[in-house]
């Protein structure tokens, strides 16, 4: 597969950098007390959401996890409304009811972050079923972690999707850890992708820190899904740089050595290097300008969030039922 167009490559870089900058800021503001509860950062894994979503159409649908900012941004969510949600404000995506773990934007096919591990896998499989029932060529994508791949819903959903040839991508973000527990202690077979064989579907392993590799795997899987050939399981080997959550007392069992190895595989630096190495394609200035623009958009989102009022207390009683 040839590389994506230079413009697409830049777009990918902008997306990845937006994810990173957004979370750096979210983390800061969390520690400053402006963002509440729990925040899980995706930093280090940006190439996965970016590479997958780059292969999707606007009306394709995805579902996310507790670590959802990257998926939201890659699918095109509005930064202002994301940040306002983190700030617990009225103009947040969920009017302040959801917070970091529950950002959704159904209008852009982002069916929600989900605080229950593996909780979204079957839901988005239902979106895939809807596409099939409609006869549309939409595909649906489930993002989930290595930890989630050990839970029942993974199995039930993949079996059904495979049997019914649903237009699905199952994207395992294997960051080698689930909270404090290393994947080496939870995965009976080190490759989640090995499970695909049991459902008679392709199981693909890619370098999750190589956005092009992810994009290629996604493109193939999307083509297969749109052709009515059914789901693909894509395992992206990647790593989170930060602790499981941003909580001040969050433990971390990982060795600095392991973290260092993976930080050297920075997906963003890799893409920058690639762009730069393609002579004349990308200058330091361009990169700086892109980053500055990204930072500006993040800053604007914070301004937006702060300007948005907190919901009225009584709003707690709204939205229990649809009309």
């Amino acid at each position: 597969m040839p590389y994506p167009t230079p413009e697409t490559q830049r777009e990918m870089l902008r997306t990845m950098q937006t994810i990173r900058r957004f979370e750096e800021r979210a983390s800061d503001d969390y520690h400053a007390g402006d963002i509440y509860g729990v925040v899980h950062c995706y930093i280090g894994e940006e190439a996965v959401a970016t590479g997958i979503c780059a292969a999707l159409n606007d009306d394709d649908q995805i579902i996310s996890t507790h670590r959802g900012h990257g998926h939201c941004i890659a699918k095109g969510a509005n930064l202002d409304r994301m940040m306002a949600e983190l700030y617990g404000r009225e103009d947040g995506y969920c009017k302040g009811k959801g917070g970091s773990m529950h950002i959704a934007d159904f209008d852009i096919g982002m069916l929600g972050a989900n605080g229950i591990v593996a909780g979204g896998i079957s839901i988005v499989t239902g979106a895939g079923l809807a596409a099939q029932l409609e006869g549309s060529d939409r595909v649906a994508v489930s993002f989930f972690g290595d930890g989630a791949s050990n839970a029942g819903p993974f199995h039930e959903s993949l079996n059904i999707a495979a049997k019914w040839k649903l237009p699905m991508l199952y994207v395992c973000e294997n960051n080698l850890h689930s909270a404090q527990t290393p994947a080496s202690r939870t995965l009976a077979h080190e490759d989640v992708a090995a499970r695909a064989a049991g459902y008679g579907i392709p199981g693909v392993i890619v370098d999750g820190n190589d956005v092009f590799a992810v994009y290629e795997a996604a493109s193939n899987a999307v083509a297969r899904a749109r052709a009515g050939e059914g789901p693909t399981l894509i395992e992206c080997k990647t790593y989170r740089w930060r602790k499981h959550t941003e909580r001040p007392n969050q433990p971390d069992q990982r060795t600095q050595e392991e973290i260092d190895i993976w930080m050297k595989r920075d997906p963003i630096a890799r893409l920058v290097d690639h762009l730069k190495s393609q002579q004349g394609q990308f200058s330091d200035e361009e990169w700086d300008a892109m980053d500055a623009a990204v930072l500006k958009s993040i800053e604007a989102s914070v301004v937006y969030a702060k300007a948005s009022p907190f919901p009225a207390p009584e709003a707690a009683l709204d939205d229990l039922y649809a009309d």
Binding site: F106, L111, I116, S122, T125, L133, D323
Partner: protein
């Protein structure tokens, strides 16, 4: 009007609604023949035994414009899907700030009487009442089940329709014409003045039989059927108790933290109704045990018309 059974009435509701709205489809671990024949295997899906996945898939399909029906069959099979019910279906409309709709009908059989023992006999609706975000129906007649299922299917929220096993063969009048029974409206199934029996599902039939027996003794029993548990029509229930001054709640579930406790409390916590009470409220429920297999044991566990008659006499201080 025609007489048909409760089970037939329920199936009619599904057929008529599926005819009306092509966005409705059906999933269950065995597909009902009556639906497959009419609508084909694509809209009426026999699925793997994976109720958790079905329950979740309904959510995703619903937010994509469909109106799924998932039949869990026995409610005890729905417990494998509880995360998708509690954490997902019930919460996500609210949690996402109301931005999407999730019109879903989940159906489940409850109750006992079939000698099917603990893992196939249970009436755990109060477990689903405690979480916020669902609507819950519990019909007692063929007429009501058809009308309630139609309302449930047309509702833009996840609705659980519980149906008592014992009612499946019950016959009753059901009109040919389209009609609905509103969600959230109780019905006084029999008027009376001495005591209110709020009865659920099968117990409505038992309470009506008890009322008939008691009428011969000059005791006038009012039988109120909530028909939906969430939202609960507390006003109709309270109005009845304000009139009679006495309350029995008859439920085939165990009492502990049951719908019966909720109904009793809705009555007693209302100052106007409390002040009308001439006697303590009484629960006539199943014994608080898993449902045993042997007929002699199972029959001992469940409430019935005899126990209701005795309970009414006790509350009235007669006989």
């Amino acid at each position: 009007m025609r007489e048909i059974t409760f089970a037939q009435a329920a199936m009619e509701a599904l057929v008529e609604e599926m005819e009306r709205d092509p966005k409705i489809f059906h999933m269950s671990t065995d597909a009902p023949d009556a639906l497959v024949e009419k609508f084909g295997e694509s809209r009426v899906r026999a699925t793997p035994i994976a109720e958790s996945a079905l329950t979740g898939m309904a959510i995703g399909a619903a937010s994509s414009g469909f109106r799924p029906i998932v039949d869990w069959r026995q409610v005890t099979f729905a417990f494998v899907a509880m995360d998708q019910i509690v954490n997902q279906a019930a919460k996500i409309h609210y949690m996402f700030g109301g931005q999407a709709q999730f019109p879903i009908l989940y159906r489940a059989s409850v109750g006992g009487g079939g000698r099917s023992a603990a893992q196939h006999s249970q009436s755990p609706y109060s477990m689903f009442m405690n979480m916020a975000g669902l609507k819950i129906t519990l019909a007692s007649t063929p007429y009501d089940v058809k009308g309630l299922l139609k309302s449930a299917i047309r509702d833009n929220n996840p609705v659980i329709a519980f149906e008592s096993n014992r009612l499946a063969g019950l016959k009753g009048d059901v009109p040919q014409e389209d009609y609905t029974v509103p969600i959230g409206k109780a019905e006084v199934k029999r008027e009376g003045t001495d005591i209110t029996v709020v009865a659920l599902a099968w117990q409505v039939q038992e309470a009506l039989a008890a009322a008939e027996t008691l009428a011969a003794e000059g005791v006038s029993v009012e039988v109120v059927d909530p028909r939906t548990l969430i939202p609960m029509d507390s006003e109709t229930i309270r109005a009845s108790v304000r009139k009679t001054g006495r309350l029995i709640v008859a439920d085939e579930a165990g009492p502990t933290a049951g719908a019966s406790a909720e109904i009793a409390t809705l009555v007693t916590e209302d100052p106007d109704t409390f002040s009308c009470l001439k006697a303590p409220p009484k629960r006539i429920c199943a014994l608080q045990v898993p449902i045993p297999y042997s007929p002699v044991l199972e029959d001992h566990v469940f409430p019935d018309r005899t126990k209701i008659v005795a309970g009414v006499r006790e509350v009235l201080g007669i006989g």
